[in-house]
């Protein structure tokens, strides 16, 4: 009860701060739109052997990957905001109050989740005129998956922010982690095109399962086993990440 109240308190403040600097919406959308316009059309030809006959088919494959990568990268970089707040003494000011430590973390991660979901919805809307078709129910399930992904990657990012001392150190660390994760989850091109060994390697990447689940949902195969597998992997990973990062948060002296 206290945790829920405190989380809501932190979340409210974080959302207020976000609304005061709305530039993030533009920044979060411009890049994906470039990918939609300038990269996705290439896929029609590339995916043709796999049975993609139209642009709509190509977008069905590409948009879920794009949304997943948005949440993975967006989440992983959110630790920078925590570093800023640590430096400004805002976290310390909160830590001397009886407010729940987990709430300080969850409130911030939830803010990031909401921000990324808003961006995801906008990108989905923008993709509709390109021929993307997806049923509302499947879309909702996909957003659930995305929300959990964002929560997980934000929690991981906060953990990294607590371990690296400066912005300068954080950027290369996050990039180094994010790049193989993105490549090994087939967000640009589906891994069905990949050689066997690459596919086998990708199976060790939890984000691969998430992207597979997303793709199945966007192609209307809600009963596909990759959907529940993706959800399961993401739920477990989210719980572990939040636990890890919350532990760091409450023990680390900053």
């Amino acid at each position: 009860m206290k945790l829920a109240r405190d989380t809501w308190l932190v979340f409210q403040r974080q959302v207020l701060l976000m609304i005061r600097t709305p530039i993030w919406i533009a920044v979060g959308i411009i890049q994906p739109v470039f990918y939609l316009l300038l990269f996705a059309p290439l896929l029609k030809k590339v995916l043709a052997p796999d049975g993609a006959g139209s642009y709509a088919d190509a977008y069905q494959v590409y948009v879920p990957g794009l949304l997943a990568v948005l949440c993975i990268f967006g989440g992983l970089f959110t630790g920078f905001s925590l570093l800023g707040e640590l430096k400004a003494g805002i976290i310390e000011r909160s830590r001397v109050t009886p407010v729940s430590r987990l709430a300080l973390l969850l409130g911030r991660a939830l803010r990031e989740m909401v921000a990324l979901l808003v961006q995801a919805v906008l990108i989905t809307l923008i993709a509709l005129p390109f021929g993307l078709r997806v049923s509302p129910l499947n879309l909702l399930l996909a957003y659930l998956l995305l929300g959990l992904l964002a929560l997980m990657t934000s929690a991981i990012s906060f953990g990294i922010a607590l371990m690296v001392p400066t912005d300068a150190a954080m950027a290369p660390v996050v990039n180094t982690i994010a790049q193989p994760i993105a490549l090994l989850s087939g967000v640009l091109l589906p891994l069905t095109l990949a050689p066997h060994w690459l596919q086998q390697t990708a199976r060790w990447n939890p984000f691969y399962w998430a992207v597979e689940g997303m793709r199945a949902l966007f192609s209307g195969h809600v009963g596909d086993s990759s959907v529940w597998q993706g959800l399961l992997v993401v739920v477990v990973m989210t719980v572990l990440s939040v636990y890890w990062s919350a532990r760091l948060f409450s023990t680390r002296v900053r």
Binding site: R20, G89, I90, T97
Partner: protein, 324 residues
């Protein structure tokens, strides 16, 4: 109100990674305190003496390595949450968000201490009045001057009416007027029954503001008491002698004066200065002038003053606080 015994904390040095041993730095090496209710208690010491570490331990921000501490009836080790409810803490750098206003910060702070929304709004309104923030309290914090920001920081620290308030270097970087204002606020909080603990490296602040002072050096309390009592420990007066600059002049003058019976203590300061501690300065000045004259040393200036807390620091540590 605050009782500690043997409070200590050491850090592992970060520089020597994986080279085998990791040397530890003792930031605080056993601090015993007894602060009474309604006191303004000061930690005076140079930067790096362990003042801030001690304060952060008492404010539950750092876990001490050992010792015992109780604050307003709550045990620091077994009930940190209880301590948090009873104390307020204002860090040296404050902790406000640039894009929100003082009022919004005050409301959030009150709510983080558990107040319901309506009650928090009321408390913020009260704090805006009490700390004279109403003129600018609805503008974003980024627009405040240093003095205004400090007032907001302190208002945030006491929004929940704590029994004990910890202030870390509350007047660093403030202009004299803001500084006087902060002192006034601290005194006002004391009259409302709050116990206030401040750290400072300003001698005059410790002297003028604090009821009792602990002089801290290298993680230990080297002297403790009221500023008056501490200064009384230093014998009577301090005489500062300025000499004509010249090679070995100060050393020669020191040799001449050391055997003088009225002298308690002598410190050479640089090439051309002596600091003498003696019982009755006014009576001793003619005698020491005569002694110096007899040895062919010409004093340039002679100044008589009451001992300051710096003299206490010097007597205990062999260093001057103003130099370290």
């Amino acid at each position: 109100m605050i009782e500690t015994t043997g409070l200590r904390k050491s850090y592992r040095k970060k520089t020597s990674r994986k080279s085998g041993e990791s040397p530890t730095v003792d930031a605080v090496r056993g601090i015993d305190l007894s602060v009474s209710a309604g006191e303004i208690y000061g930690f005076l010491g140079p930067n790096g003496a362990g003042k801030t570490t001690t304060l952060r331990m008492l404010a539950t921000l750092i876990r001490p390595d050992g010792g015992r501490a109780g604050i307003a009836g709550a045990d620091l080790f077994t009930d940190p949450a209880g301590v948090r409810r009873r104390i307020g803490y204002v860090a040296q750098g404050g902790g406000t968000t640039d894009t929100v206003s003082a009022r919004e910060e005050l409301v959030l702070q009150a709510r983080m201490y558990g107040a319901a929304k309506a009650r928090a709004v009321q408390a913020a309104e009260g704090a805006l009045k009490a700390f004279d923030l109403a003129d600018f309290g609805d503008r974003p914090c980024a627009t405040y001057s240093g003095g205004q920001r400090r007032r907001v920081d302190i208002a945030l620290g006491v929004i929940h009416e704590p029994r004990v308030l910890f202030l870390d270097e509350p007047t660093v970087g403030l202009d004299p007027a803001s500084r006087a204002y902060v002192w006034e606020e601290i005194r006002r909080l004391r009259t409302e029954g709050m116990t206030v603990v401040v750290t400072t490296h300003y001698l005059d602040e410790a002297d003028a503001l604090c009821d009792r002072v602990a002089i801290v050096d290298h993680g230990q309390v080297v002297a403790e008491g009221t500023p008056e009592a501490l200064k009384r420990e230093i014998s009577g007066d301090v005489v500062l002698v300025g000499l004509e600059p010249g090679e070995g002049v100060a050393k020669r003058a020191a040799e001449v004066l050391r055997p003088q019976p009225y002298l308690h203590r002598l410190e050479v300061q640089g090439e051309d200065g002596l600091r003498l501690y003696l019982e009755d300065g006014a009576a001793a000045i003619p005698q020491l002038l005569r002694a110096l004259d007899g040895a062919g040393v010409t004093p340039g200036t002679v100044r008589l003053q009451r001992p300051s807390l710096d003299d206490v620091f010097l007597a205990r540590t062999g260093r001057s606080l103003q130099q370290s």
